[in-house]
Amino acid sequence: MAEAELPKYWAILYALYRLKRICNSFDLQKYLYLAKVDGNAPIEYTFVEDYYGPCCSSIKHDVISLGDQGYITVSFENRWVFEITDDGVKQVEDFIKDVPVEVQKSFDHILEEYSSLSVVKLRDYVCDWHIKPKPREESEQLKKQLLTEIELLLSEFSYFESNGNSLFIRGSIDYCLLVLERENLDDIQKNNLLTIINGYLKKIRILRELTRENPELLGHLCLNDIKEDFELTQEACAEYKVVPALFDEDVDLSAFIEG
């Protein structure tokens, strides 16, 4: 069958071929997920539920590999940016004939429909339709737990040497603390926001464990994935109008001061 001849990464290149540029890894994951689930595209990636929606770690792996092969460029500007190269375009033009026309049409429709959505709206769309929210009491319980965990993490990271990474960790979780203290959202948005913050903190907890024996290691780690996650966290907080994004240029600083 013609579909079987497609390379595993075909959908990544195809999405970039159509859009030219994708500005964060969350969106790329969602387009591929929707193309597979709603568009019935022959995509081999297996998705699991994560706080920012369905994801598949192999996609990131293949993106890096496509970058190494020169089919796309991968850069980081506060979030991952993927762009197709001329070689990538040629590669797509080579395999596009093997992609059935109806698959191309449904994939194009998904890209057209969802590429204009903000990263948070896209995430919520996918999660609202495909993931069941938690009951309210469970959310409240989770919120209390997160507040306690942030206090603990802030205290632990306060002993780390001051450097770009430790400042980033302290600042970002301190922002999450303010968000949790201020949020008073309805059930669905609360559930979404708590899921995102919980997911973000999960990564920070892993980082804490990694550096427990050797705190100096933190200064040498590349935190680009975590930085991109924090961008999503801020966008969600701003989208739900809890607190503006911390890096929003035009915001009044008093929004981030207690009292």
Partner: protein
């Protein structure tokens, strides 16, 4: 070969000079606009930079300095800045209160972004430079030779360090200055405390103390 007039057409900035140059941020606080800047230093390095540009002097640094800036330099300066009671006043916090980590991160990000924009200016160059090991050793030996002098003892006491020599990046800067015949603009005590000795010993081309 570098002629004297060519050599004078550029200066080398160290990490602090670059950070202070970019550390000027306008923020709205409760509706009024305030400027965050390192009072004694930002104005001076900005005027000095303007003067260099008027005189047709190019400004450059080495890749190691840029790495140091993003790894540690900005965080260190933001933390020092946020401990200043005048900054707390500006935000409207009492002297004993601590400026939150999130505000520190916001200031750090703004500084980072300005420095990234600086890298796109035609008059500012980042040179990918790595000094030869023997040259670094020469600088290190020079500092070690000063170990037992009262001046070095005083310097080490002030800096609370056991090593008489500066960081690898600072030593690379010295070697680069010597090689390119361009002076270093710095307020780093590791360099300015020994300006005369370094210049006299031919360890660098020159040191311009900023401010």
């Amino acid at each position: 070969m570098t002629t004297e007039s060519q050599a004078q057409k550029r200066v080398i900035y160290d990490a602090n000079s670059i950070i202070y140059y970019c550390f000027m941020h306008k923020e709205k606080i409760r509706g009024r606009t305030v400027t965050f800047m390192v009072l004694e230093l930002t104005n001076k390095i900005q005027s000095l930079t303007e003067q260099f540009l008027t005189d047709g002097i190019e400004i450059e640094t080495i890749s190691g300095v840029m790495k140091e800036i993003f790894d540690k330099g900005i965080a260190k300066i933001v933390d020092e800045f946020c401990e200043d009671y005048r900054v707390k006043d500006l935000i409207g916090l009492p002297g004993k209160a601590r400026i939150s980590n999130r505000i520190r991160l916001r200031l750090a990000r703004k500084t980072e972004e300005k420095i990234r924009r600086l890298q796109n200016k035609a008059w500012f160059k980042v040179i990918d430079y790595h000094a030869e090991e023997k040259e670094i050793k020469r600088v290190k030996n020079f500092y070690v030779s000063l170990s037992r002098t009262p001046k070095m003892e005083e310097h080490m006491k002030k800096k609370r360090t056991r090593d008489p020599y500066p960081s690898d990046v600072d030593m690379t800067l010295l070697v680069y200055s010597k090689e390119t015949e361009a002076p270093i603009v710095t307020n780093d005590s590791d360099l300015i405390d020994f300006k005369e000795e370094l210049e006299r010993g031919g360890l660098c081309f020159g040191i311009i103390i900023d401010p």
